[in-house]
Structures are given as structure tokens and as C-alpha cells.
């Protein structure tokens, strides 16, 4: 895929991510109004809670999934860049973007 086509694809992906996040947040706030459950987890979160919630579909967890989708959008953009540079055989930039991606994801597992 050419750089230009990839950029257009990514730009659509970013807007979709923001849109899905917006819809999820509206849904979560609606659920909050309806159920009145305002319990929110504090402290270091477990991967299981992030993925499944406990109980599933409590308002705070739905909102949370929206944030995760949102935060994933820049990550997708970096992944797309890595793919493009690799397919172009541009190894210097494949390495640079690969490092950025590694730091990005590693931040989550720190501390």
C-alpha cells in the first residue's frame, strides 16, 4: 500500500475511533442515569477487569471501554506507519517507528 493511501485509510480509522468512543460514552452515561450505579474502581487495575468488568456492563466499565478504543487510535496510526515503512523496505524508519510502538505499549506495564 502506498504512503498516501495508507494515510487516507488511517485518517478514516482515527475518525471512526473517535466516533465509536463518543457513542460508547453516550451509552455509558445513559446507563449511569438509568442504573444509578456510580461505583468506580480505584487503584491499580487488573487486566481482567479492564477486559471483562465485574460485573460486566456496569456504567463505569462501558465508559472505560470507550476510552480504551480512543487511546488505541494513535497506536493504530503508529502500527500503520511501521507496516508502511517495512513494505517500502525503509529499515531505518521501520526501526524508529517500531521503537516508538514499543515504548508506547511498554508504558502500560511500568510500575
Amino acid at each position: 500500500m502506498s504512503l498516501r493511501r495508507m494515510e487516507l485509510f488511517v485518517s478514516r480509522l482515527l475518525r471512526l475511533g473517535v466516533l465509536v468512543c463518543g457513542v460508547t460514552m453516550a451509552l455509558g452515561l445513559g446507563l449511569l442515569w438509568w442504573s444509578g450505579d456510580t461505583s468506580s474502581p480505584f487503584g491499580v487495575l487488573s487486566v481482567e477487569w479492564v477486559l471483562w468488568g465485574d460485573p460486566f456492563l456496569q456504567p463505569s466499565h462501558v465508559l472505560f471501554l470507550g476510552f480504551l478504543i480512543l487511546v488505541a487510535t494513535p497506536v493504530m496510526r503508529v502500527v500503520a506507519s511501521v507496516t508502511t515503512y517495512v513494505s517500502e523496505g525503509d529499515w531505518v524508519y521501520a526501526a524508529i517507528t517500531g521503537t516508538v510502538l514499543t515504548i508506547l505499549v511498554a508504558g502500560m506495564f511500568l510500575g
Partner: protein
């Protein structure tokens, strides 16, 4: 958690997003202090909400810049190395930092930003001077070109002093991770004033960088439970709406007046943050 709380958070975010967009910034610098003082939130939670909102504004406006083809992806990726490393550093510090320490650092940052903006306003406006690539930029092919629709010509530019810019953007990353803001102001001035990248390219490239930087910080904040769902949701929605309106209005209002207002707001919030941080008030 009450409906009033949600609406207040939404309004604060809307105002900050609006004002930020008028100046080409994310608005996190105003939003975090307002959330702390008006809603009485711990600064960690305010920063967590702000950092997610920064991701939202970056991704929402990215398509505009990408269509205009002014984003310099190579330069953005090179500097994103620095900002993401900085974000990890800053976010690592935030978990152990006390409320008072964070407030004091935030306050000092606001005062500094206000001083820089005041200085920029007073100094005579220098036009952009094209510079050749330095040796790092030459090797990494950082220089680029774009079509300037307003001038109707292709603008070619090199990237000079790329290592100093790298160090400065690292600090922008630390600030982003530590305080939950985008750091766009620092990125832009590093590219424009230090590396002599034209402003249009600097703004678009910074937009890409703050998205990646904020995502790095946000993942850490999420993992450590600093992203409170009920604070963050209205803040993200408010910022998105505010920045969309702001971007539209920005074309029609005079920059100087907004800048003056912004300088005063930063000054007041900065002083308030410091007095609160050191326990004076």
C-alpha cells in the same frame, strides 16, 4: 456523582477545549486547574481525564491535517521517540508524586508558559527563515515539503538543530506524562523556533506527536486507576465539542485579544496552583 457534577465537568472541558482550539493548543493547561479548583478533584484524577481528552482532540483533528498533506511523518516519528520516552518518564513519576508537588510543578509550568507567550507577543514577528538539514536530519531525511494553498507555491524546508529539538521535545513528553497535558505548545516552538520548520508543518506534526505521546501517558494512567470513568467521559465529550466550535471560530477572531486573555488566565491559575501546592491558601 451527581448530574450537576457531570454537567459542570462538561462545561469546564467545553470552555477549555474552545479556548485551546482558538490558539491551536489542546486546552489541558486550563482544564486541569479548573477541574481541581472548581470540582475539587485530586490532581491525579484531573490529569487522567485531561490526558484522555488530549488523545481525542488529536485524533479528531488529524484527518484535517492529513488531507492537507502538511504533516511531516518522518520528523514526527523521530521526535515521537523523544516525547514517548519523556511521557514514560513523567508518568512513572506521577504515581509516586504527592498532590502538593504536582500542583507546584503545574503552577510553575503555567507561569513559565504565560511568560513565554508574553515575550512572544512583545518581540517583533520574525518571518520564517529556511535552513538546510543538519547532519542528523540529512541522514534521516527529516526535511520535507508541502503545498501552501495560501501562497500557491510548494514550500521546501530543512530541519536544523535536530538534536536540541529532540531534547526539548523529550521535556515536553515528561510534562505531558506528569501533568496530563498535550505539550503541543512546546513541540511547536521546538520545531518552529529551534529547527526552523514552517509553522503550518510544525502545527500538523505536533498534532500527530501529542496523540502518540498522550496515548503513552494515558495507558499508564488507565492502568494505575487515575482515569475515573465518570470524570473522564464528560471531559472528553466537552473537549471534543469545545475544540470543534473553537476551530471554526478561530478563523474569524483576532488572535492578539485571545492571547492576552490566555496569558492572564495562565498567570492567575499558575499562582493559584502554587499557593495551593505549597499550602498557603
Amino acid at each position: 456523582m451527581t448530574p450537576q457534577f457531570v454537567i459542570q465537568a462538561l462545561l469546564i472541558a467545553l470552555g477549555s477545549g474552545f479556548l485551546g482550539a482558538l490558539l491551536g493548543l489542546g486546552g489541558g493547561v486550563i482544564m486541569v486547574p479548573l477541574l481541581v479548583f472548581v470540582l475539587g478533584l485530586p490532581i491525579h484524577i484531573a490529569a487522567g481525564a485531561s490526558i484522555v481528552a488530549v488523545v481525542a482532540t488529536s485524533s479528531a483533528s488529524a484527518s484535517v491535517y492529513m488531507r492537507a498533506e502538511v504533516t511531516n511523518m518522518r520528523l514526527g516519528m523521530f521526535l515521537a521517540l523523544a516525547t514517548t520516552l519523556g511521557a514514560v518518564t513523567g508518568a512513572g513519576l506521577v504515581a509516586g508524586a504527592s498532590e502538593a508537588a504536582l500542583k507546584t510543578v503545574f503552577g510553575a509550568t503555567l507561569l513559565y508558559a504565560s511568560g513565554v507567550m508574553w515575550h512572544q507577543m512583545r518581540s517583533t514577528r520574525r518571518s520564517w527563515v529556511p535552513m538546510p538539514n543538519d547532519h542528523v536530519a540529512k541522514r534521516l531525511r527529516l526535511g520535507s515539503s508541502y503545498f501552501d494553498a495560501a501562497r500557491g507555491e510548494e514550500i521546501n524546508y530543512g530541519v536544523s538543530r535536530s538534536l536540541p529539538a529532540f531534547v526539548i521535545t523529550y521535556l515536553a513528553g515528561v510534562e505531558s506524562g506528569l501533568l496530563g497535558i498535550g505539550g503541543g505548545g512546546i513541540n511547536m516552538s521546538a520545531m518552529n523556533a529551534v529547527s526552523s520548520v514552517p509553522m503550518k508543518a510544525a502545527v500538523a506534526t505536533s498534532n500527530f506527536m501529542i496523540g502518540v505521546t498522550a496515548a503513552t501517558s494515558a495507558l499508564f494512567y488507565i492502568r494505575h486507576g487515575f482515569v475515573d470513568s465518570f470524570v473522564t467521559a464528560p471531559v472528553v465529550l466537552g473537549t471534543l465539542i469545545g475544540s470543534l466550535i473553537g476551530a471554526r471560530v478561530a478563523l474569524r477572531v483576532r488572535g492578539v485579544v485571545i492571547k492576552r486573555v490566555f496569558i492572564v488566565v495562565l498567570l492567575v491559575l499558575g499562582l493559584r496552583m502554587i499557593t495551593s501546592g505549597v499550602g498557603l491558601l
